[in-house]
């Protein structure tokens, strides 16, 4: 049942031109060069240090690597990270 619902959503997004982040609770990531990264729709901080930030998503995790990390703002679903960003990696379980 859950799988059907998920497939339904994928189909709707593709065919009805609805924004994917809204339909499927995906993270929306905005980056400004290497300086800033702005992540919406996250589900909490798993690990935060100067070199990495690991975020929980609805499905899987997001790993950001770099240096001199500072979390500028953090709200229940939004996060603004500043520093030198080298990598953004999706971890799927």
């Amino acid at each position: 049942m859950k799988k059907i619902k998920q497939q339904m959503r994928v189909w709707m997004t593709k065919n009805m031109q609805l924004p994917a982040d809204v339909m499927m609770d995906l993270p929306r990531i905005t980056m400004i060069g290497q300086l800033h990264i702005y992540i919406e729709n996250h589900r909490g901080v798993l690990r935060f240090s100067n070199q990495e930030l690991r975020l929980l998503l609805k499905q899987g995790q997001l790993l950001i690597k770099g240096d001199q990390f500072v979390i500028k703002t953090i709200l229940p679903e939004e996060l603004l990270l500043e520093g030198r960003i080298d990598q953004v990696i999706y971890l799927n379980e």
């Binding site: 909490g44 935060f48 100067n50 990390f69 979390i71 703002t73 953090i74």
Partner: protein, 395 residues
Amino acid sequence: MRNNWVQAFKGYVRVRVDGAYPERFLNRCIEQRFSIWKIKRVGDERIVFYMDIEDAKKIRPLLRTTDCKVTFAERKGTPAMMRKISLRAGFVVGLAACLAIVLVLSNMVWKVEVEGASPHVEHELRQVVTEMGIKPWTFQFSLPSVEQIQRDVTEQVSGATWVGVRQKGTTYQFEVVEQKLPDEATRVSPRNLVAKKKAIIHDIFVEHGQAEVKPNDFVEKGDMLVKGEIGKEGKTEIVAAIADVRGEIWYKSEASIPLEHLFTTLTGESKNRHYVSFFDLNVPFWGLRSHDFEQVQEFNEQKEFHFLKWELPIKYIRKEFRETSSYNRTYTEEEAIEEAKRMARVELVHRLPEDAEILGEKVLHEALENGKVKLKIHYQVLEDITSAQPIIQGD
């Protein structure tokens, strides 16, 4: 996004969290919707961030569940600043007092300078001025305006013809022009006397020179009256002619006066309203009740405040509403003619030299048009008609 100003106003605090897993504490904070920012990891088991003072009071239960230790490192924003200020109250009070003193002293008179006056006149002026209250330690706004001072001082100082008053910051400068008595009559150079105007000679008194005309003679402008030459033919001598020749001159003047005239006069009743003006925005603070006069005239008076040499954008303005009443003056035709004659005469006397004498007047023409009486009057006037004509001596 967060508003820095609001945050700074409410006050915020730098928090240090120690624990094996401080991320859990962060997540709890977010769930509680506490606003936190500038999160930084400074060690293996330590992160630092900023949060609102209000939220900082509520984090105690979270610590127990997340197994973290919290230290408040530094308070910032208005509340913290107020605390610092109250710790240094003496300093702040001193600073405020200093500003206040400078402000008060900037609005006082500190110096009275007098320029261009002899010691005697300067002494007199200083006395008058001190009596008016222009002396050190007086507030400037308790003094009349510069124009008023100038008028009063010029009137009261007998030794000066004119006194210019200038206010330069806290200094009042007085510039004095003293009366100078004319020098003794200088020796006049050789000259003839000629007629200044077309006239009939009335009487002639020659002090020096040779009269060329006699009473009842008619002279044109420029005609010789007294010749600056004495002695017999062949043995003449050139002198400066001095004489008093009075001639009868005719003047024509016109006067017109309306039969009806609306006058506005002050009744003497008045009401004051006081304003404080910030950047040209007038805020009334006293005498707010409106006057119940039917007709009014408004008079404004304003005083500026100074800080050192700058004019502050704060002004004190006094508006005076003076009651006026108007009345209609109506003349009959005869009265209007009388009045017009009187006016024309006054005007003529103004124009004539002091020793002139009006012998007679005659109305040439009178007319009533558009509610106005118009007169043409002819005057016979007796006055000195001499005018000097230097004799240029050849070799």
